[in-house]
Symmetry: C2
Subunit: 142 residues, 2 copies
């Protein structure tokens, strides 16, 4: 199994509502491979997918019931400290929920969290020890 | 907000146990940026992180309680149908749980699901309509 990840799928209650956030709000462009019931966004070399939460559970053959903390977070790393504030301001303007206002954190960075329309948690973080290349890739030392 | 994802963090109950799976089982190489309480894996241009579930909830300032379906799945796309079987065989040999045996699926591909030691769901999928480049990137039409 190669060291890679192809796709992250976020289960959503209402795809048009989620598209309003990711496409219209954040300005992300869905791939033309998207269909009526699923949206795909190219994120670097991988894909973010939005799909009905119930259908996703059905596809995985698991019980769709679930509540509370999902145990998974996504992170968007910025190139500067100010950019964390800018992103969280955008989220607030879009009417989404700031879960943790941006603040200095114990590992030496500056970060906050927001929730997408389905409560999926995104951290927005400036990590002064990590670099982001021109293509937006985060490249760690091997 | 650029169209990219920097990091996916999986909350884990027992980091050594998770490392046993991802590092020793799958053969993935942790970055030297990893520390005692957090492991980082470079996956293409982004990073997978393993971190205590309780600490992750604390970092996000959310209640750590949660149960059932997380509403998020990860997917590993293969270059062939046979490779799906091979990956799921490896998972079985490692003693992890096959959630859905590999099978033909409605969208024209072949896929199955497994759960990692914390129940995080991974789909292993062959999608004949998507290509994976030499670097392992999934590139969709814009």
């Amino acid at each position: 199994m190669q060291q890679r990840l192809s796709l992250v799928t976020l289960g959503v209650q209402d795809l048009p509502r989620s598209l309003q956030f990711y496409r219209d709000g954040l300005g992300w462009q869905p791939s033309s491979a998207s269909q009526e019931e699923v949206a795909f966004f190219q994120l670097g070399g991988m894909v973010l997918s939005l799909y009905s939460r119930a259908s996703l559970a059905e596809d995985a053959t698991v019980d769709p019931a679930g509540m509370g903390f999902s145990g998974i977070t996504l992170a968007y790393n910025t190139r500067s400290r100010d950019e964390v504030d800018a992103v969280l301001q955008l989220i607030e303007q879009l009417g989404e929920r700031i879960v943790k206002p941006a603040q200095d954190v114990f590992w030496g960075g500056y970060s906050g969290y927001f929730a997408d329309p389905d409560g999926h948690l995104w951290e927005v973080a400036w990590n002064p020890f990590w670099t982001i290349d021109d293509a937006g890739q985060v490249l760690l030392p091997s």
